[in-house]
């Protein structure tokens, strides 16, 4: 019961920016927002003290889709709200949430390294996980990643 009210509150909070709202399974609501609205939407959740950011998932639906997805999972008790941001594969960029959630840095750096989604405005863009000599522009968790791209 509590979970449902939680989700409802979140859905209401996010309504101004929601392009699409999906309920993939009980206890979860996925809200598709435009990249430009991400910061405002996260702000709305945080200002209302609605849970915390638990993870950022990068998704590559495949080359033919032409897009990449970044999923921002917020958890409040058993309820999970996911902000789905779809960005063009050719120029993937999302704004940084560093101004809203100070601890987001590691998640964003992981997203950048693994999927090549540029996080605009994140303070530290040094490599966190990948080796220093990892070639630029090669993103291991994309579906079109091939070992040959590493050269050598």
């Amino acid at each position: 019961m509590e979970t449902d009210t939680c989700l409802q509150t979140a859905a209401e909070l996010l309504a101004p920016w929601a392009q699409e709202t999906i309920e993939p399974e009980p206890g979860r609501v996925d809200v598709v927002v435009a990249p430009g609205d991400l910061v405002a939407a996260a702000h709305a959740l945080m200002d209302a003290r609605w849970g915390y950011l638990t993870a950022i998932t990068g998704l590559d639906p495949g080359e033919e889709d032409g897009r990449l997805e970044a999923l921002y999972h917020f958890a409040c008790g058993a309820a999970i709200v996911t902000l789905r941001v779809r960005v063009p594969r050719a120029q993937p960029a999302v704004p940084s949430l560093i101004g809203v959630i100070p601890s987001v840095s590691f998640y964003e750096r992981e997203l950048m390294e693994m999927f090549g989604i540029v996080v605009e405005g994140t303070p530290n863009t040094d490599r966190l996980f990948l080796p220093e000599d990892w070639p630029d522009g090669v993103y291991p968790l994309r579906k079109d990643f091939r070992m040959e791209q590493l050269g050598g």
Binding site: P24, E25, G27, R28, Y52, L53, T54, A55, T57, G58, L59, D60, L71, H73, A75, G77, A78, I80, T82, I101, P102, S103, V104, S105, F106, Y107, E110, M114, D126, R127, L128, F129, L130, P131, D133, P140, L141, F145, R146, M147, L150, G152
Partner: protein, 389 residues
Amino acid sequence: MASEKFVIPIGPQHPALKEPGHFEFNVDGEIVTDASVRLGYVHRGIEKGAETRNFVQAEYLVERICGICSHVHATAFCLGVERLAGVEAPPRAQAIRQIVAELERIHSHLLWVGVAAHEAGFDTLFMYTWRDRETVMNLLEGITGNRVNYSANVLGGVKCDIGSEQAEAIQIGLNFLEERTRHYLDVVSSDAMFLRRTRGIGVMTREDAERMGVVGPTARASGVPRDVRIDAPYLLYAEHPVELVIEEAGDLEARFKVRVRELFESYRVIRELLTALPEGELTTRIPRRIKPAETISRVEAPRGELFYFIKSNGTDSAERVKVRTPTLPNMASVLVLSVGHQLADVPMILAGIDPCFSCNDRMAVVKRNGDEQVWTWEQLRQYGIEYYR
């Protein structure tokens, strides 16, 4: 010279770190003025690897993300895949999963107390906690057949039953451990010399903890009521709940106390489950191919909230497995907390979050036979040579 930065590198290889990570601490005399971290020394490409294996194989891959808390990884993965497949493990299997998970928590927390005591130069506590930890390791070995990477889980249930023989062994073991734990609680909360190293060190206020998004015992030691077992019960945690263990002080002492006190909750809930072990099957059939869907599976690992995002695509392997381990959010707090502290306190603060570098570093490249991304041994060797040149 005075204006120059004096950097103390800790890691990737350093006695204070049991696993590789690289920290740089700028110090002014003995006081830390800045800190930074570089991870990834134990990257194994597990997220990518999980995409190229079938669900059954991937379970054992994710179980190897962490050597300490392997069972929770497998549990989180199994719960997610079972939900995707629309099946549910039988109640007896769930109870056994929960018992193993709590036994694993006991082993992990005892291990942590030892490591943290060692960082504080209190080796006697280290030796005794680890000696007593053998008890729970033996129990796990007796139940599952292995001391680490128990592989108790199988998709759709568990492999091992807990009969009266095992139940009795667990009871005896828990009785011994409970008495010892009472003693350890006394030591960490009253030993004057030890408290000099823990009380008031690495204080994280509740606001800081919430702002930095820390999870698990690290958050609970700062008064943040955050525990997946209570917030979003899985397995049989709804029927056999644990009580929230919380401390307000936010210093190292509180982190010790939270973890040691949690042990009592684990003992209690294991005993409860043993007396009320549901009858029935151990496994249920699960389809090999799973229709396209997405799910999120969250469990409370010994170190905090463990997050799994699993996406299936109709085949027998996952489209995407995302793992967010508890160390990642907690790691950020170390960098903030260590500033202003003595260098001598840094290992303690670092140990205070119970970091698990293997958990952190899990993505990147993987070799796989019989796939388009074949990497022969020779290529891999060559890559290794190139990499370290």
